[in-house]
Amino acid sequence: MTTTDALGAVRWSLTDTLVLAGRSLRHWRRQPELLLLSTAQPVVLVLLFTQVFGGAVATPGMRYVDWLVPGVLVQVVAWDSAKTAVGVAEDLASSTIERFRTLPMSAPAVLAGRTLADAGRNLFVVLAMLAAGVLAGLRLPGGPLAAAGAVALAVAFGYALTWVFAYLGLRARGGEAALAAGILVVFPLMFASSALVPVETMPGWLRPVAAHQPLTAVIDAVRALMQGRPAAGATAIALAWTAGILVVAVPAAVRRFYRVAA
């Protein structure tokens, strides 16, 4: 393959990816209530949690709302990423993917397009939650730049997770099964983390697990960035998790894609 061929192939893969991301965006435009609901849910969560747990949880050197919002934000990012599994599984079940495979398109673009669109939805949800958090009293002493970094980190992590869920979606039989598998993976990560309560308050056996799982790493980094605390170490760990997940999940999903599609 000559360089021009290779460049052309990359260009087409990108175009195919964007065309398919556009397809997902159109789906949402056709069902705006879906996007609205998936945004409203986390917003309600933020408002509820701050009010309900606000008085009960002691957080070290931090108001509870400042502790909680980064936690719920990353929880919701993980939760939202799980929807990728449903979309992929539904495309597979409805033989849409089979149809795409008779086209001269770049096959992994089916996954890349969907994960890209899902990252876009994730960003939207994160921004809405941040606004709700501020409404509930969240302060951002880290400043706008650090806050933007925190949002970017959360969305990047969510993007890495969508590839894990793309893989699960390709393994599952149908959207329902994919959702069940997604929940099974996501729930322990969401709650055995520093999202809602400090890890130190958990039972001894759980503490090391909760302290060293990826969601806690990302939550800690987002929290430090938003609060203007030293964040370099936490951010590095969070980025390492993000990169590590991508390095494993992208090839696994692509390989799986070629397999189910063969």
């Binding site: 175009t15 056709r30 149809r99 086209l103 398109m105």
Partner: protein
């Protein structure tokens, strides 16, 4: 001139089922071949292999001069496919579906839009172009799926039971569309349960049963060989269990 489609000894096993036991067929460039056979005979499996969707366990096949296993990309660039089950995106409108296919066929936005409008018109879908495809009737979805297979002006066309579910008027319209494409040089492999359709569209017919070719030739040759006056009767004679016809000594053309 190379054949548009050439398959030799195609074999496909599924768990517990021998779907194909060595299927040979050839479609000369510009010709129309009808693949006939009872349910489960192996028609869709054959189409699947030729359209790069199914990996064969044995045999080889070329489409538009490219090997389906070693050059699947090239094959895909040369084919239009309408599968047995309409696979359109129900959450997009008819118009958006066709544009999506055009774009994935690497047409410009503008060219894809123009082509979509043209095909919607051709398939009588202009009035419902902006409705979500999941609100379409079965026949409408089918027509949209067929339109999608024609977006690219591919030189080789695969239509798996294209008229199933179409009303007589729409069936005639589809036949006319196929005629136009053939007149413009497109080669077609179609499967059908309607012998009338094979009679109307195809230059040659291949009859498969239990994963084997049991007869092939022109429609007239089949009638002649089976000694049955109609294609229906000839078909039944060929594929009925314990068919009385002397095993169609007739693979010879």
């Amino acid at each position: 001139m190379t054949a548009a489609i050439r398959a030799e000894g195609l074999v496909k096993r599924y768990a517990g089922v021998q779907a194909l036991r060595g299927v040979d067929l050839e479609v000369p460039a510009g010709a129309v071949l009808a693949l006939l056979g009872p349910n489960g005979a192996g028609k869709s499996t054959t189409v699947g292999i030729l359209t790069t969707l199914v990996a064969p366990d044995g045999g080889r096949a070329e489409v538009a001069g490219f090997d389906v296993r070693r050059q699947p990309r090239r094959v895909r660039a040369a084919i239009g496919v309408a599968g047995q089950h309409a696979a359109v995106d129900g959450r997009l409108t008819g118009h958006e579906n066709l544009i999506l296919f055009g774009r994935l066929h690497r047409m410009s936005r503008r060219a894809a839009g123009a082509r979509a409008a043209e095909l919607l018109d051709r398939f009588d879908l202009t009035g419902v172009a902006d409705r979500l495809a999941r609100t379409y009737s079965g026949g409408m979805r089918r027509r949209l799926d067929l339109a999608a297979s024609l977006v690219a002006h591919a030189p080789v066309l695969f239509l798996d039971e294209p008229t199933t579910g179409l009303d007589p008027l729409r069936r005639d319209q589809l036949w006319a569309v196929v005629d136009d494409f053939v007149a413009a040089g497109t080669s077609v492999l179609l499967t059908t349960q309607y012998l009338e359709e094979a009679d109307r569209l195809a230059d040659r017919v291949v009859v498969v049963d239990h994963g084997r070719v049991v007869a092939e030739g022109t429609v007239d040759q089949l009638k002649h060989r089976t000694g049955r006056p109609t294609l229906d009767a000839a078909f039944l004679a060929l594929t009925a269990p314990g068919a009385a016809v002397p095993a169609m000594a007739g693979r010879a053309a």
